[in-house]
């Protein structure tokens, strides 16, 4: 009897908890739900590329060079007779990996610095925010290009080049939020019972900020995917044999006059992915973080 009551009670509280409420609001947003499904499919395809892609990304077929889309090559072939559809699936691995990893990097670095600046204030805040301002005024892509040159055009180079410029947005957001939270009674109470500074930030302040943080992460990923494709398109990003949607577009651009599908397909796939991330972000913000005003990237 008693266990039955307690389970129904937990079930009821789960139904009305912030997560359940958020999920309910999120589900009502059709564009966001559709975007989530689309992104899941793309991510799964990228993860299972070896099984999903009909051809290897480097398999050349000299009899089918620059072919228009057809039954066996759904998106046509490139100048070396490689299947574009397969190359786009493999390109998704790189584009998504760069987008997600750099966003996580920015999340960790930005949250850490933003929390320190907002919590301690004073000269800690001064130093961190002057640094942030400097990064902010300097166009991040300009800096990424220079960092790329410094670190080489490999995967780790591009991760650092984008990650090191993307943390600034996160730091500003977290600082602002922590600045507000710092004055709230629960933080004061935590300090009053002798909680250390570190534990106050880690256990009491940050858990209350996960809504805005997740939302900004969702907007950071498409921004970073775009930066990567921008760099790779300019020929300053990833080098073959690594290929992302940006490098595919770069190859496609050179052949645009004769065979436009080589730039249109990678471009459109990238566009749809970013669109989905933006709609997902909007949906998540409305669901998790109704208070924060709409950010414009």
């Amino acid at each position: 009897m008693i266990p039955a009551v307690s389970t129904s009670k937990t079930a009821a509280s789960a139904k009305n908890g912030p997560l359940a409420k958020g999920w309910k609001r999120f589900r009502a947003n059709r564009a966001a739900l559709l975007s989530l499904i689309f992104l899941t499919v793309i991510s799964l395809a990228a993860l299972a590329a070896d099984w999903v892609a009909p051809f290897s990304y480097e398999a050349q077929n000299m009899e089918a060079i620059l072919k228009a889309p057809n039954a066996s090559n759904w998106m046509g072939t490139d100048s070396l007779g490689r299947d574009l559809f397969s190359r786009i699936i493999y390109g998704a691995q790189m584009s998504l990996a760069v987008g997600v990893l750099t966003a996580l990097f920015a999340l960790i670095l930005g949250t850490l610095t933003g929390a320190l600046a907002g919590y301690f204030g004073g000269w800690t805040d001064q130093i961190i925010m002057r640094l942030v301002d400097l990064f902010y005024i300097f166009p991040s892509l300009l800096l990424s290009i220079l960092l790329m040159v410094l670190m080489g055009r490999g995967l780790s180079g591009i991760l650092l080049a984008i990650g090191l410029t993307a943390w600034v947005t996160q730091a500003r957001l977290v600082r602002g939020q922590v600045l507000q939270a710092r004055e709230l009674p629960y933080v004061e109470s935590a300090r009053a019972i002798g909680t250390s500074h570190f534990m106050t930030i880690w256990k009491h302040i940050l858990p209350n900020l996960w809504g805005p943080i997740i939302v900004s992460l969702t907007f950071q990923i498409p921004t970073n995917i775009m930066s990567e494709s921008f760099l790779s398109f300019l020929g300053l990003g990833l080098e073959p044999p690594l290929s992302s949607w940006g490098t595919l577009a770069n190859e496609g651009f050179r052949a645009m006059r004769g065979v436009p599908h080589l730039i249109l397909f990678p471009g459109v796939v990238l566009f749809l992915t970013l669109l989905a991330f933006n709609y997902l972000g909007d949906g998540l913000r409305d669901a998790l973080d109704p208070k924060t005003q709409r950010l414009v990237d």
Partner: protein, 304 residues
Amino acid sequence: MIPFILRRLSVAVPTLLVMTVAVFFLLRLAPGGPFDSERSFPPEIQRAIEEKYGLHEPVLMQYWRWISGALRGDLNESFQYLGQPVAELISSSLPTSFWLGLLSLAFSIVLGIPLGALAAWKRNTWWDTSAMFLAIAGVSLPSYLVASILVLIFSMGLGWFPPALWESWDAMVLPVITLGFRPMAMIARMTRASLLEALTSDYVRTAYAKGLESRVVVFKHAMKNSMVPVLTILGPISANLVTGSFLVEMVFQIPGMGKHFVSAVTNRDYPLVMGVTLVYGVILILSNLVVDLMYGLVDPRIRQ
């Protein structure tokens, strides 16, 4: 007004200085030098070249020589276009990039603000949904895709505009749309959000209570008061126009400064990279200053 400008400039100068230091040292740390090539020179020639350009000196010394030259307006000679002063390369390409940026900015404002206002005025209607789809699409579209689609349709298909170069006004249309599309979308989203917020205020209710038409309330009363947040994103937008110009100038073969920057970085043309960075820094700081001054114009309360 003048103390304000002076105060801002007193922050701007150190910022510029730190920027040049950072870029200078990043470049020297990078592997590969300006005179590396597939077949290496005999060591004595290599040494002679390095001596001619002062590359054998300690980096700190090199920076000092560069900055003291820059202050006198001497930006050295380019490494990749031998014998050509950087200042000359910049002054011949800057106007093109400047017009490209300015026209794109005008395009984005002229289209972005009405689009956002329309979405807010017709909130939750078909107008709103489509305007906002266009706006979200605008920030999600890679500019190379915009450029390719525009070229495929309007120059290769219809033959209305040339697909490249920057020699006549009709050649400017496609690059300006390409570069201005993303800022237009950002402005449209910001205008909508800020206008919707303004529409909840008391004076709007009063205006409606007086029996004014919603067109007048939205476009005359609320509009003026919702422009400050739109101004705030003009700073990030100018940064966007600078970096966007790299790609647009490459795609449309426009002889601007962005093209110089990309090739200079790839070829380790240190003086050219430094010169262009310095000019970008000045442009960005000035545009942020102009934005700050415009706040005062739009909102008299900030003027103090």
